[in-house]
């Protein structure tokens, strides 16, 4: 089972890498916000997978907290977008 979890972890990290390239390149700010949101979700899943990989899945509260905080950060950035025009 550990092999499957490890492979999942590596594919999640590859997904993070590709999304990261978009966040660095992204022609508009919206691409970057989208990338941050996608990386946040992937990180939440990665935290869960890592918990199972380590054999201690009782730290999933961490993933719950990250799911909520990621949403809060996205909403904060979008409030900024509403108040100011972005280029």
């Amino acid at each position: 089972m550990g092999t499957v979890l490890t492979i999942t972890m590596f594919s999640l990290m590859a997904s993070i890498l590709m999304t990261l390239v978009r966040a660095l390149k992204g022609p508009t700010s919206y691409d970057r916000i989208l990338s941050v949101n996608a990386i946040g979700t992937t990180t939440v899943v990665g935290v869960v997978v890592m918990g199972f990989l380590k054999g201690r899945p009782d730290f999933l509260d961490l993933a719950v907290v990250y799911a909520l905080v990621n949403f809060v950060a996205t909403v904060a950035i979008l409030r900024f977008v509403e108040q100011r025009r972005l280029g």
Binding site: K54, G55, R56, P57, D58, F59
Partner: protein
């Protein structure tokens, strides 16, 4: 090759060359130095605050990685699953570094908050947050006095 049999300087040199076992410390130094470059090279005050955050994160990583034990688990004894109780009986990471860094993270975010308040104040007073422009305004207002 047994490093203990060599001259200390030679063994040290070989360790430098291979970074055996200490590669991650070098990576933390790289992260810290990226933050340091941001602090000393960038003129924008927000960029400097971000660089300070990167620098402190490098130090946190350094501390936490010192407490890691090979094959260890998180230093929490409690678990509800019987199967995981056995795993939880394995070697634990050293919790002391975690405790130190918990304090340090909170202090670093307090620093960031005060820095942001100062930056907002600077923006209101000077109309800019670029270091060289602030210097120019200060020189124009108080010629000859010089800015620190």
């Amino acid at each position: 090759m047994n490093l203990a049999l060599l001259e200390p300087s030679t063994a040290s040199f070989l360790k430098v060359a291979s970074l055996a076992g200490t590669y991650n410390y070098a990576l933390y130094v790289v992260l810290m130095m990226i933050g340091f470059y941001g602090v000393i090279a960038k003129k924008n005050l927000i960029k400097q605050a971000l660089g300070l955050g990167l620098f402190s994160t490098g130090i946190f990583l350094f501390y936490i990685s010192m407490g890691v034990v090979e094959g260890g688990t998180a230093p929490v004894w409690w678990t509800t699953d019987e199967a995981h109780l056995l795993k939880a009986a394995g070697p634990y990471d050293n919790p002391l570094t975690h405790v130190l860094i918990l304090t340090a993270i909170v202090v670093s975010v307090s620093t960031l908050a005060v820095a942001m308040a100062l930056i907002v104040n600077i923006q209101r007073a000077y109309g800019t947050i670029e270091e060289d422009e602030i210097r120019a305004i200060e020189d124009a207002e108080h010629p000859g006095e010089g800015v620190i």
